[in-house]
Symmetry: C2
Subunit: 289 residues, 2 copies
Amino acid sequence: MKLYLECIPCFLKQTLFATKDQEEEKRIIILKKVIKFLYDKNWDTSHDEIVNQIYNLIREETRILDPYKDIKKESNNMALKLYPSLKSQLNKIDNMEKRLYTAAKLSIAGNIIDFGPSSEFDLDKTINDVLNKKLAIDDFDILLNKILIYDNLLFFADNSGEIVFDKIFIEEMINIRNKPFKEIAFVIKGGPIINDAMIDDVYEVGIDKFPNITFYKIGNGMKDTGPNRKDKEVKGWIKNYDIVISKGQANYEGLSENKNIFFMLISKCPVISKDLNVEVMDAVIKYNI
Amino acid sequence: MKLYLECIPCFLKQTLFATKDQEEEKRIIILKKVIKFLYDKNWDTSHDEIVNQIYNLIREETRILDPYKDIKKESNNMALKLYPSLKSQLNKIDNMEKRLYTAAKLSIAGNIIDFGPSSEFDLDKTINDVLNKKLAIDDFDILLNKILIYDNLLFFADNSGEIVFDKIFIEEMINIRNKPFKEIAFVIKGGPIINDAMIDDVYEVGIDKFPNITFYKIGNGMKDTGPNRKDKEVKGWIKNYDIVISKGQANYEGLSENKNIFFMLISKCPVISKDLNVEVMDAVIKYNI
């Protein structure tokens, strides 16, 4: 996805949120630096690259490696608390396909836990909305078919907290298959960026306990944190797996040019909605054939 | 009101809206110029001054004096269409004080017609909400008292379309007084800025028909369009009138340091809400004693 002009004001909003615990004077310095960066930057680039560079700049200025560390822990805990009731909700569904579909919808609902486009969200309401509303794009049947046929899964995760909902979804995939995957590659961030899930989060919520699971890392723009979503290496991962699922907006922005990939997300801003041709707050499972 | 950092991303959003009919290339040039202006500018200034300078810059670049001209005409027409049904709604209320209170609420509801903080609004829903919800700050009784006692009114208008609702409110003031004001000074903009009402709008909706009405103009940052809200001249107007009413956010931002003035508005952004200590979308009649 190309960079939309509407993203530019949003970058400044994100800067203000990421620096909300700083003194006003410091915030002004950082905001001015981000403004200067945006002025100097050629906008004929990816959304990803700009976001990474802005967060690098914020990190340099604040000397805080991960301003969302506490928020991420809280999100995991909040989602883990919901885990038992969501599981018992699923256990009441006899039809296996309907169970998996509900779990897929829960995984999408978890995508609302996002401190990028907006810092305000209502998780309970979103779960309720997504479960009871029709998906705006619904390629679930294609996904179901692949889950039943193929033995390996590449899963691009998005946010902390949200990964608890992804865990439930993967559990239901294994459930409907009646056997584990031969391989699950779970893609997280190799360095902090907004509230995106990292390796600690995965351990916190127990995703490391799946059989045959392995972890790949996407970089945050800092050295040695992993490749960018546009890199050849990432395109190679996608080619190597039969089932490829991508959660959330940033992964959509970075990966939407690839084939054989399912995008599962809530469209949280007008820019993504325009690109997907859906309304803001619509939920989708979209397959790039 | 001081300039809040949260207003900075909003300035860029407004720039994008004001240039929405331009080619992408031109929009990038203008957005970059506004970004450069924000970088160079000392932010220890008023919100008003920055907004005026940004719209001056947009005017220079696009060579379009008033990008909201059509929108303003549409807003007036939309509100004028509602006028008969709103009047008949009022005519059903026997109690004169309740009638005036309802008209005051209608005038506040009209404040949703605003292309500054957001370009999306639902007028019918807002009218319904404001009429049926408690005002978050309600100094109506003090205002009522002044309307009954005093004979002159200074009214800072805000947006096109909204002024139709203000007309209804002024009609009800005259109604409860049983006689016209000796003077009504209606303050509009002397040059185009966002969708703010100008002299043409006043004629379009018939506000010029009130007895003893006169018009004052606030400038838009261009030469000879009128004084800024912070100017001595404007403070002089406020001192000369017994009843002073200010509609909307920008007037609140510019005039909140004055005394003996009523602010009537819907708080449409987190910054104004923080300053007023109310929630976003709350409606208020706030008297600065």
